[in-house]
Each structure stands twice: as C-alpha cells, then as structure tokens.
C-alpha cells in the first residue's frame, strides 16, 4: 500500500491555537480584572461615595468658613466683645510678672526635687526590703538582727548633690523630710500659680463663650476642626454597632453628612455647576431633624430601628435600603418614615418634638376617631370594655365563692352542733367562722371592683351614637337612606359605607328600629332659632362640630357635621342631647345584660333615678351604665338655651324630613331576625350601642403587629401580579383620589401598597372573585382623604413586633408616663379643639374666621402652655370635675365668666381626673404632691401701699380683671383676683405679671408693667407717694396682696377708684354700642328664656 500523501495542511501540525489561547487569556484576564475591580469597587460602592464626599464637603466647608469668618468678625466688632478682649489683655498683663516668677520658682524646685528623689527612692527601696524581711522572717533572733541592720542603715548619711553644685548630707529621716517639704513647697506654688492665672482663664472663657453665644453658625475654629476631620477620612466602612440591641448599621458609609453639625442640603452638596442634585448630593444631606438625633443618640439607636432597611448590607443601594425580595423590613419611604416612631413609641398617643403635625400622631388619632378600634383590636386602644368584662367575670366567680362559703359554713355549724366531742365542735365552729370572715373579705373585694367598674363605665365610649335611642331620636324614613351611603348625606362622616344591598338595608333598619327603646321623652317648648345660632357659634360647639359644606364649612372635624341635622333629628331628643348628651334613656346593667326600666326600680320600691351618684342596679347592686357612652360633654346650658340651639339646628336641612320615602317595612317583625344577623355580621356594635349586642366582640383582625406580617400573608387576592407589575386595579375615581400618591405607577407589592389600596377601596381585593354575601370582605369604605390614608398607612406600617430589647420601648415609669397617659385623654376629649398645649399647635377655634378679629381673639379659651405651673393641682381637679366651680349656679364659666365659649363638664371619672391633673403637673415639671408656698402676711402699711398701686390709674389691673360687679364684668377680659388664692401658684403669678407675653404670647395682659431697677422689679409707671424709699420688689408686694385679697378689700379698692355699681349702670348699656364687632354681652339663660 502506498503511503498516504502527507496532507498539505495537517491540522495537527499546521493549525494554530493561538487565537483560542488569546481569547481564553483575554477572558481569563478580563475575569481576573473584573474580579479585582469588583473586589475593590463593585462590591464597595460606598468607596466612591467617600471620595466624592471628601471633595464636596471640603468645598462646602471652605465657603462656610469664609462666611463664618465674616460673621465672627461682626461679633468681634461689637463693643461687648472688645470690652471682654480688653479684660483678657489686662488680666494677662497683670498676672504675667507674678506668673513668670512663680513658674521660675517651680522650675527650680523641680530640679531640686529630682536630685533628692534620685537618692531617696534608692534608699527607700532598701528600707522597704528590710522591713519586708522583718515581717516575713520566722525566728525572733533574726528579726532582731535585721532590725539592727535597718536602724544602722537609717542612721547612715547619704550625700545629695543639688543642681547649684552644693552638697548636703542627710540620714534617712532627714532625707524623707527634705523630700516631702520640697514637694509641699511645689504644691503651694502650683496653687498660687492657679490663683494668679484665674482671672486670665476666666476672662478667656468669657470671651470664648461670648463668641459661641453670639454666633448662630459654627465658628471658624469649629469649621477648621471639621475640615481636619474630613481631610483625615480614609475610605472605610462607617459602622454603628450596638451589641445589646443587635444593631449593626453601616448606613453612614454613604450617608456621611448625617451627623455633621452643619445643615447640608442636596443643593449645597451638588457638584459645581450641576443642574439638579445627583445621587451623591442626595445621600450627603445632614439629618433633616437634628433635634431628633439629639434625643435619639445614633450611638445607641443606630439608624435602622427608626428607618428600617438592611443596615449590614454595603454592596448596593437596593440591598442597603432593604428593597429586595424576602427582606422583611424595607426602608420606610419619605411619605411614611414616621412609621419608625411606632417601633418604640407605641404607648404614645402624641409625639412632639419642637414642631407639630406629625403624620404618625394623626394616624393614631384617626384609628380611634374613625372607629377602626371598633372592629380591630389594637394594644393600648379602648381598654375599658376588656377590663370591664374581666371584672364582671371576677364578680361572678367571687359571688359563687361567697355562696359556697355560706353553704359550707352553715353545714359545718350544723355538724358542730351534733359533734361528739367539744374539741371536734370547736374545730368545726372555727372553720365556719373562718369562712364567714373570708366572705367579708370577698365583700370588700367586690366593693373595690364596683368602684373600678364605676370609673370604667364612665370612661368607656363608643364612636357612634346609641342606637337603642333610634326610635326616640331619628326620622324613621331617613335611616335606610343613611345606610345606603352615609357620605352622600354627610361627607366626611365617621360612619363608613358598608356597600349594603337594599335587602340588607331593609333588614338592618328593621332590627335597629324594632329593638330600640320606646320610652317617651319630655315634650320641649319651641325655642328661638336666632339666639340658638348665636349660642351655637359662640359657646364652643364648633370646636368639635362643623357646619356648612365645601368652602362654607367651618368648625372642627372631631364630631359630626350638622349641616343636614334638621332632616334626621327629633326635636325633643335633640334638646335633651344638647342639654346633657350623657343623659340616658334607660340604665344598662352589664351584669344582667339588660336595660333596666322603672319596673325594676318599682319592684324594689326605689325611685326611678339613675345618674353618676345613683349607679347601683336595683336588682343586684352592681354598677350600671348610667350615661350615654359619648364623649360629648355638657355645656351646662339652661334648658331654654338648649331649646334655642335645637331649634336652630332643626333649621339646618336641604329637604324636609317628610320628603323621605316611606319605610314602614321597618315595622315588619319578619325582617327583625334577618336584620340581627346582618348587624352582627358587620360588627355594628363595635361603634354603636345596640340592644342585645352589648357584649359582642370585635369582628376584625388584630392590628397591633400588622406591619410585621410577612407579605405572603397579606391577601392581594387576584392582584398579586398586577401589584408586582405596578398596575392599578382601582377604577372608581372617588377611591382613586384617596391614594396618597395617585394611581400606581410602579410595583406596589409591599405593605404600603396593600394598606393604601385597602384603605382607599376596601373591597378591591374582592374584585373578580365569586363570593357569597357572607363571604365578601366586610371592611367598609371609610371615605378617607389622601392625607388620612397616608397617616393610617404610616401607623400600620409602624405596627411591628420589635426585635429591640424591652428597654428601647418608651415606657417611662416617672412623670413622663403621666404625660404619655395624659395625651390619650387630651385627644379622647378633643381638648385641642379649644386649647393650645404648646406653641405652634393651632386649636380649631383659633383658626376660625370669627376669632381673627382682635376683639374676638380675647374671647379665645386660654392657652395651657404652663397650666401645671400656673394652678394648684387640687384646685385643678375641682375645676375639671365642675368648671362652673359652683353646685347650683352652673350656667357659666367658673374662672373666665366673661368668655362666650364655655368650658364644658366632661364628667371625668376619678381615674381620668387623676391622670389629667398629673398630666398638667408633669408637662410643667411640677412636683406632686403640691405643697403651697407660704405667702407672707402684709403689714398694714404694705397693704395700703399695695392697694394704692393696685387702684392707681397708672396700674390698669381692675380695668380688665373681673370684680364680681355685673356691669363691670360685662367688659372684663381677665379673671377675678379673688380666685387667685385657691387657684394659682404665687411664684407663677410673679413671673406672669413681669412678662405675661413670655408665658402666653398674644394674651391681653401686656408685658412691660414692671422694669428691673437695681435688681428689683419696680412698677414702670408713676407710683403712689407711699412707695418713696421702698426698696423691695413691687411685683412681690402685689402678688402677696392679691393672695390675701378679700371681697371686702376688693370693694374698697373699687370704691377708691370712683366706681360704684349705681353710677355705672346707665353708662355701661350705652357703651355696648361703641364697638359693633365686639362680642355682645352674654345673655343669662333665664333672661334668654324670658325674652321669648
């Protein structure tokens, strides 16, 4: 066979793999480089941030420094600074010769001490060694022999060579003495040096303080420090590590400006010439609320407990912010960042930090005001029913126990009588007696439970009205119309829309109607609508209620809008309601679970009287619910005034009550059972009192930890995918408008998206599903506005089970707890509708048009900025329980009877009174119990002086303050001085009269009545001649005088001012003409009634 010819191109020989190798090498190298790059930069994006930060912050500081230098120059230019600087120079000059002398002496001494020390320490060491030998040697003889050695050693002399060349010989004791005396000398000289330098250091501190106090921004030196710090920054992970709370937050690796003491905005951190701030600039801002950081030290709290996100991640923004799948705690968005407060502040109803308007506080308040807690349990809300239920349970157990004991003891006594031995009889009798004593203990315990129940029943409120009164109160035909869509009749109402079918509406109306009480109401005379309108607008109704719709709406949103109340309400009922909303038709016995009527009282031959003073059940002696469970207080109006207001309110309608379609089917008994089913199904009893459903539980899920539910457990139903893709399922324009950020544009598959959609359109997760009537979602549409959805979402997002240690929870045990508890009450009763508790917080009234007029401004309820420091807490308790401060004459204010607006009687329980008084005391840092300051008794000369000043034309006190003289008080704008003694704290009064504007800005009482002369407060105007040579505080004198003012003295003063009731009478009536816009003088209830 011939050899095969060698092919021209043998692939083994001729084919080159160079290209393959090249590609492989390139790939390998590229991978290597990529790996290296990734290691250095890719996985460490924060490095780039730190580089950019160094450049931008340095540039920022540079310009800040020049600004700061300019303002420092300005400060240094002031004469005060120059004076201080001169002081410093003088002090330095004065001190320097002595200082130099002392410093030289100390220097000399130091070298002397050194030379002595060199010899002394050597010898002392030897002495110590010998002493130790004596101590440790065992034989007496050796002890003695060493003792001798020691003595001889001590007697030996040693030579010390001083720096000046002189030599001195010392034995050991002399040496020790020389050494100590030299050291004493040095200490003395040092002290002297300190004394000499004292004026210098003092004036230096004064100078530095002056600069620091007068520079608004940082001083150039401080900025220099920052520059040094940023210059020294080398790229590294910045980390907060709190082992105790398992916090590891590396956020500051990129957010380097967060804790800087200067204000850094995205604009100020942008690159030069950049049009819009880039990601770097946005990341470098300083914390927008440095005050918050002050009270939440990042070294303890880190970042993620408030903001969430993944504090440990450093590889990308998404990771660090926790915006990736399966991370349970993504960063709170800008709109909901306050959710983080809830982590530790769940027990707080009101969060305050310098400013107001916290979204989270609003959400927490809405959760209560809108009745969410009627269906959803939430820890901390509406605690009374649960406690009451457990108390009722306890009552039952205790009563059974008592009965058993009685039986048992009777049985034992019987046994004892028939016992065989006396011993046996005595033993049994003792046991029987023991059981009887046990029963008396049970009685005591029951009594305590009843007291507690009494308080709880007073405190327990329902968001909606008592529907047992439906028949007495409502226009029957209106009920089904209302149920159809409540917001149609009354936009903004708390009553949500349950999407009921017509059949359901008919059934529910029928049940409500047929289960209602049928008692008769006292018939009321018609009132004067015009007077009623005036009262309605001035007594304070509008602090909670609103009237008018759209742009015409005025008043508060805490309670119902009354624009159409005339279409639904029954006059007789309305009068009773306005006169005292707490007045109940029949008391309810939670023990027997029934409404108690006159027949029950008659059985026990008791008068049919029930109120807070008569709250025992005639049947079983336990506490009755004797009030309507409404927060609406009594304004202590006369019946006539209540009739006038009711008459006015009934004119508020858009159509006649008779125009409603007939709904006589509501009397159909067949519908009742069906209705009951639906009333129960929808949990109506969560917000309303409904006959037969007093003990119904909540129908919704508990929301205390709703925010930490894994996303998979939130039922997006058919919309999981749309949510992930950012599609908007809501189509109803009304509901779309409720979404805080408008229709979805990006993925909303998160807690925020779920809550927002649920709140905007609760039935959305039923869309496309086939469900029966009873299976459909029950959550009603609360017709919330955007900001309300945002607030509630924030609140729910923050409702998380915290992994932080318990001591991170803000649950103080000191007076701060009083503040915490107080806010729950302040918001419960809407005190903020009328009062301001801190500057910047606007009450409802203060924003109303009427109160913009300067004359009406004087008519605003008092600001309570320093209430705890102002009033005696015991007086405050009395005032809160009866603001008329009088048991019979109640149709007035007890303190400011010149105000048209009325401080209502809230019928607070003892428990709530205690909490409120403590709240005010704690808010003003006042100790409890209060021990009144002793006010010295004035001498007759002092009294005369004070009286002279008090009544002089220069001192205007009695022009504005009420005196009890009816004519004068019609124009008073301040309380009667006679109240001061019991009501006020003397130290507060003194601060008040020196500068009232500092305590209550805008008050009618002017500042500048007193000036400080020679460290004493002196009246600013001309003083009576008797003040010649008086060198005490005039303020103190007046306060002491006010605190011992008697009615007689007040009359004397009025008389000395040429004022008497008789001469004033005709003039006053004329005067009311002068100011047309001035609030008209109050008409007393009696005269208002008589005028008709």
């Amino acid at each position: 066979m011939p050899d095969k010819p060698v092919p021209d191109s043998d692939p083994i020989v001729s084919k080159s793999y160079a290209a393959h190798y090249a590609i492989a090498v390139i790939l390998l190298m590229a991978t290597l480089l990529w790996a290296l790059w990734d290691e250095a930069f890719g996985m460490r994006p924060w490095k780039a941030y730190q580089h950019v930060w160094k450049d931008r912050y340095t540039a920022f500081l540079l310009s800040a420094r020049s600004k700061s230098a300019a303002s420092q120059k300005e400060v240094e230019g002031s004469s005060d600074y120059q004076k201080l600087k001169q002081n410093l120079e003088e002090a330095t000059q004065q001190a320097s010769p002595h200082m130099r002398e002392l410093q030289k002496q100390i220097g000399d001494l130091n070298s002397k001490i050194l030379s002595v020390q060199a010899v002394f320490t050597d010898r002392r060491a030897y002495v110590n060694a010998l002493t130790y030998q004596i101590e440790t040697s065992t034989s007496q003889s050796s002890k003695q022999s060493i003792q001798r050695d020691l003595a001889s050693y001590k007697a030996q002399t040693a030579t010390v060579e001083y720096p000046d060349g002189s030599r001195q010989k010392y034995n050991f004791e002399q040496l020790e003495e020389a050494y100590n005396s030299l050291k004493d000398q040095r200490a003395k000289l040092n002290a002297e040096l300190g004394d000499t330098l004292k004026p210098v250091t003092q004036s230096k501190t004064a100078l530095d303080d002056y600069v620091a106090n007068h520079m608004i921004d940082l001083t150039p030196t401080q900025i220099g420090g920052l520059e040094k710090k940023v210059d020294e920054l080398s790229p590294s992970i910045q980390q907060i590590n709190v082992a105790e709370a398992n916090i590891v937050d590396r956020c500051e690796s990129c957010h380097l400006g967060i804790r800087e003491p200067v204000k850094l905005t995205p604009a100020s951190m942008s690159a030069k010439g950049a049009k819009a701030p880039d990601d770097y600039a946005k990341a470098f801002v300083s914390h927008p609320n440095p005050d918050l950081l002050q009270i939440h030290d990042p070294e303890k709290f880190g970042c993620s407990p408030c903001h969430q996100g993944n504090g440990r991640a450093t590889t990308s923004i998404e990771k660090a912010h926790g915006n990736y799948e399966h991370w349970l705690w993504p960063l709170y968005t800008k709109q909901n960042f306050e959710a983080g407060c809830q982590t530790c502040h769940a027990a707080d109803m009101m969060l305050i930090s310098g400013e107001v308007g916290w979204t989270i506080s609003k959400g927490k308040d809405l959760f209560r005001q809108r009745g969410c807690m009627g269906c959803h349990r939430y820890e901390g809300y509406d605690k009374e029913p649960e406690e009451l239920q457990s108390l009722n349970q306890q009552i039952k157990t205790l009563e059974t126990e008592r009965l058993d004991n009685t039986k048992q003891s009777a049985y034992m006594m019987k046994q004892a009588d028939a016992a065989e031995s006396n011993d046996e009889a005595n033993r049994l009798n003792d046991q029987a007696v023991g059981l009887r004593v046990a029963n008396s203990r049970i009685d005591g315990r029951l009594q305590q439970i009843d007291f507690r129940s009494h308080s709880l029943m007073q405190d327990m409120k329902k968001v909606g009205p008592n529907l047992k009164d439906a028949r007495l109160k409502l226009n029957k035909n209106w009920i089904p119309v209302w149920l159809k869509k409540p917001s149609e009749f009354r936009p903004g109402t708390k009553m949500p829309n349950f999407r009921l079918t017509d059949a359901q509406i008919q059934a529910i109306s029928a049940y409500i109607w047929q289960s209602g009480l049928t008692d008769s109401l006292p018939h009321q005379k018609p009132g004067n609508a015009e007077h009623g309108k005036e009262l309605f607008e001035t007594r304070g109704c509008l602090a909670c209620h609103s009237i008018g719709e759209g742009d015409d709406q005025q008043g508060g949103t805490f309670a119902a809008n009354l624009t159409r109340v005339g279409e639904k309400a029954n006059y007789d009922y309305l009068v009773r309601w306005i006169h005292n909303a707490r007045e109940r038709t029949r008391p309810y016995c939670p023990y027997e679970k029934k409404d108690i009527g006159p027949e029950d009282y008659a059985k026990k031959k008791l008068p049919y009287v029930f109120d807070l003073g008569h709250s025992k059940c005639p049947n079983d002696g336990h506490e009755l619910q004797v009030q309507n469970m409404t927060v609406m207080p009594s304004l202590r109006l006369s019946v006539e005034d209540a009739q006038d207001i009711a008459t006015y309110l009934l004119t508020q309608k858009k159509q006649e009550p008779s125009a409603y379609a007939d709904a006589s089917y509501m009397d159909d008994p067949k519908l009742k059972e069906e209705g009951k089913k639906w009333v129960r199904h929808y949990g109506c009893a969560g917000c309303h009192e409904i006959a037969g459903m007093e003990e119904e539980g909540r129908i919704g899920t508990e929301l205390t930890f709703e925010g930490s539910k894994p996303i998979e457990r939130l039922d997006f139903a058919l919309f999981t995918e749309s949510a992930q893709r950012g599609k908007e399922p809501i189509t109803n324009p009304e509901d779309l408008a409720r979404l805080p950020e408008g229709p979805a544009k990006e993925s909303w598959y998160d807690h925020k998206g779920f809550f927002e959609h649920k709140l905007a359109e609760p039935e959305i997760y039923d869309k496309g599903m086939i469900k029966s009537e009873t299976e459909a979602l029950r959550m009603p549409n609360l017709h919330l506005a955007k900001d309300q959805v945002q607030a509630l979402t924030t609140f729910l997002l923050g409702s998380q089970e915290s992994s932080l240690p318990a001591n991170y929870q803000y649950k103080p045990q000191d007076t701060r707890r009083d503040i915490q508890e107080g806010w729950w009450l302040v918001t419960k009763y809407n005190c903020v509708g009328c009062h301001q508790f801190f500057p910047g917080q606007d009450s409802v009234l203060i924003k109303m048009k009427k109160y913009q007029d300067p004359d009406w401004k004087e008519q605003l309820p008092p600001k309570l900025y320093t209430e705890g420091a102002r009033v005696n807490p015991e007086w405050l308790r009395r005032f809160l329980s009866n603001p008329a401060l009088n048991d019979t004459d109640t149709n007035r204010n007890g303190v400011r009877n010149y105000l048209k607006v009325r401080m209502p009687t809230f019928s607070f329980s003892d428990d709530e009174l205690r909490k409120l008084v403590r709240f005010f005391q704690a808010l003003s840092q006042q100790p409890i119990p209060y021990i009144p300051e002793q006010v010295p008794t004035l001498t007759s000369k002092e009294t005369e002086m004070a009286r002279a000043l008090f009544s002089s034309t220069a001192a205007p006190c009695l022009k504005c303050h009420a005196t009890g003289d009816v004519q004068h008080d019609a124009h008073a704008t301040a309380p009667n001085f006679l109240l001061a003694k019991e009501r006020l704290k003397p130290d507060w009064v003194e601060r008040w009269i020196t500068d009232p504007q500092a305590i209550s800005p805008g008050t009618s009482m002017p500042s500048g009545l007193f000036t400080k002369i020679n460290d004493h407060w002196v009246f600013a105007g001309p003083t009576p001649p008797s003040f010649q040579g008086y060198d005490q505080d005039h303020t103190k004198l007046l306060v002491d005088y006010i605190f011992q003012l008697t009615p007689e003295e007040q009359k004397r003063v009025a008389a000395s001012m040429g004022r008497s009731t008789a001469s004033n009478a005709p003039q006053r009536t004329k005067k009311s003409v002068t100011g047309p816009s001035r609030p008209p003088a109050s008409k007393s209830g009696a005269s208002a009634g008589g005028s008709r």
Partner: protein
C-alpha cells in the same frame, strides 16, 4: 508567534482601556467646587426727572351711619370726645383708606427711611387711625394720656407683642419686618381704642384724609396696580399707567353694604 503577540497586544489595549476608564471616573469626580448663585437682576434705577405722581379722592357711595359716640367713663383719665372711627364719611368722602402700589414696582428695593413714623395715644384714641409704614421702619409710639395704655398688635404675618405704656413713659420704638395690610392694633384696657398699621415694602402709599384725598409722589413711569384698602370694606384695585412726569388722578368709590 504572530497570533500570540496579537493576544498580548489585545490584552494591553484592554488594560489600557480599563485604566483610562478608571482615570476618567476620577476626573469626573474632581470637578466640584463651591456652587455659584446667580445674581439677582439689577433693578432699574429711578430717574427723578421722569417721576410722576398719583392723587385722587375716595368716595363712599351710600349713606354712612353717624359714627357712634364712645363712652369713656370707664377710665376718668380719658378726656375729650371720642367716636367710632370704623367708617368716617364726610359729604361722601371716605377717610382712612390706605392707598398703595400693590403691584408694578418690580424687583426694586427701597431704602428704609431713617425717620420714624409716629403713633400717638391722646384722649384714649390713636392718632392716626390708619398708619402706613415701610417694612423695617421704626414706629414710634407715644403716650400723651395720664393713664396707662397697652399696645397690642395682632398680626397675621408678623410677630405678635403686647406692651404696657404708663403715662409719661418713654416712647416705644418698634418695627415690622414683613409686609402686612390692615394689621389691627388695639388697647386691651380701653377696648374702643383701635387702629390699623399697614406695612409695605415701597414708599408709594398714602392714607386718605377726612376729605377723602390722597397723594402718592415720586412714582417712576410704569404700569401699576393700585389698591384701596379700608378696614371694613372690601378691597378695591385699579390698574393705572403712569407716563413720565405725569400727575395722574385716580378716584375710587366704595359701595355701601360691604361694611360688616
């Protein structure tokens, strides 16, 4: 051989490219120093030779109720007669109307006059009842009564204060930083004592006298909105054009019924 060199070259090129990219990045980040603020466009200066003036009479259309007499017997130190000044009309001329250039001066700024405007309390009455002042200008408040007054402005956009001024006390010197029209001032001790301060940014304002007359001088030529403001009546605005050196007359009438 040739191919492997190629590979090496490629590698080099790649490395170079990477290096370049890295350098670029650095350069990008380095170009950042302090941002510069755009200077505000300069205002056209006022040429005194071309300025015009604006004057006129303000009328009240309707019959004004006779001002009510004020009874001041509450304080015997209040001497003289006093009547309600809320609506002062004499033969149809309306006094106490504040007239000012509401719009049209553009971004011009004006020096704040060194001289204070004086508010005097005499006979338990404010003189004048309506006052104009430039923002930042001193208002000197005097008390010429033998009784103590307190001065209590209740502003919307300025800081509120309330100070006592005893007889013979030194004048109070105050100023208001922000523009505010019809800022009410009252004395809490003499509730009838009321006046209004108008704080404006330009010197172009006037208050009508008892004949309803006002005059605003020194207006540079231009288009303006002139506002007529009365404490009780709704504000009236007028657009006017001032030609160089023109002395323009602009009258205004307030209709009755607007009074509250």
């Amino acid at each position: 051989m040739k191919n492997s060199r190629l590979a090496f070259l490629l590698l080099l090129a790649l490395a170079g490219l990477l290096l370049l990219a890295a350098c670029n990045k650095k350069e990008n980040t380095e170009q950042s120093t302090s941002p510069s603020a755009a200077p505000a466009p300069a205002a056209t200066p006022i040429d005194p030779a071309t300025v015009g003036s604006l004057s006129g009479t303000v009328k009240y259309d309707g019959t004004a109720p006779k001002p009510a007499k004020i009874d001041m017997s509450q304080d015997p130190a209040c001497k003289g007669a006093n009547e309600n000044e809320a609506l002062i009309v004499d033969k149809g001329d309306l006094a106490n109307v504040f007239v000012y250039v509401k719009d049209g001066v553009g971004n011009r700024t004006f020096d704040v006059p060194k001289d204070p405007v004086v508010l005097d309390q005499q006979g338990c009455r404010y003189h004048p009842h309506v006052l104009g002042v430039m923002a930042g200008q001193t208002v000197q408040i005097k008390n010429d009564d033998p009784t103590t007054h307190n001065i209590h402005p209740t502003p919307k956009d300025n800081r509120e204060w309330n100070e006592s001024q005893p007889p013979q006390a030194a004048p109070l010197e105050k100023n208001f930083a922000r523009e505010e029209i019809m800022l009410p001032v009252k004395c809490n001790q003499h509730p009838w004592m009321k006046m209004y301060i108008n704080v404006v940014k330009s010197p172009f304002y006037a208050v009508t006298d008892k004949d309803g007359k006002y005059e605003i001088k020194g207006l540079p030529p231009g288009d303006y909105t002139i506002a007529f403001v009365h404490e009780k009546l709704p504000e009236q605005d007028q657009k006017v054009t001032i030609a160089p050196k023109e002395a323009k007359t602009v009258d205004q009438t307030f209709k009755a019924g607007g009074a509250s």
